[in-house]
Amino acid sequence: MGDIMTCKINADTTDGLKIVSDTSGAVDVQSNGTTRMTVLANGNVGIGASSPTTKLDIAGSILVDAYNNGGAGGGIFLRGGFLSTAQPSITVADHDGSAPDGISINGNDGVSFRTSNTERARIDVNGVLKFNSGFGSVGAAYGCRAWIKLTGTGTIGISASANVASITDRGTGTYTVTFTTAMPDANYSTQVTTTWATGVTEHVTGLVYHDSPYAQATGSVTAKTYNFSNAGAAIDASVVMLAVFR
């Protein structure tokens, strides 16, 4: 009877419904003879966890169905009073215009990725991707902005590419690579590599034009493959590989 006297369910018109424990014991919510939720005396709430160690301790999975309830921009917000994707948050996002089935992670002064409690990569406040590959988190990763592998003899063909709209065959050993998405400026670095047919003794290598007749531009770059043992005469290489870094 003593326990019954100190625990009560109270309902009135001003306070709504209260389940009250006046003792130091926990409040348990049970179904089918099993405790499903526990509220400790210190206020920690456990769902499936009988000894919650944080404000909310869930032994199992959590469903935050923002996809079906509000869509893009809904999710988990990590700063009190700011239900905004501009604040630290993990929300669903619609990246391709079809459905909010993407994810957006936002951190105001950067987003870090860690393993073994060590930071391995970070997108800093300026959007610069940095990763820990010997440089620590201070080393920026510079991206390959476009690349292509093409066959330069016979029928000119493209084996594979990225961020390349087309190549223009301008003549023997001369190819303009047009980018799908332009570079932010023309101060990028380009690497050209060539291969030559087995057994052929020509000394073929590649370069890119910086100025005349084909200026390096934001939208395209022109490469030339040539025989440096023949006064630099242009020659078709069997394979040409080009990569742009910025």
Partner: protein, 64 residues
């Protein structure tokens, strides 16, 4: 498909544009024309088979 266009009306030099598959997934040949062919230049969209495979005299290809 390929685009051939006249690079220079005095020399009649011909350039051949080969689109990437990634471009054709989301764009048309006409959009590529707008992107790579200089304004006012003579051009034509042709089948791949129109382009000679023997490049021995590539420097002699001319627009007629």
């Amino acid at each position: 498909m390929r685009i051939i266009y006249e690079e220079d009306t005095s020399t009649h030099k011909v350039n051949v544009v080969i689109p990437t598959s990634e471009w054709l997934e989301t764009h048309t040949m006409e959009e590529l024309v707008a992107k790579v062919v200089p304004d006012g230049a003579n051009y034509e969209i042709v089948e791949d088979s129109v382009i000679p495979t023997d490049r021995t005299f590539r420097e002699a290809w001319r627009w007629e």
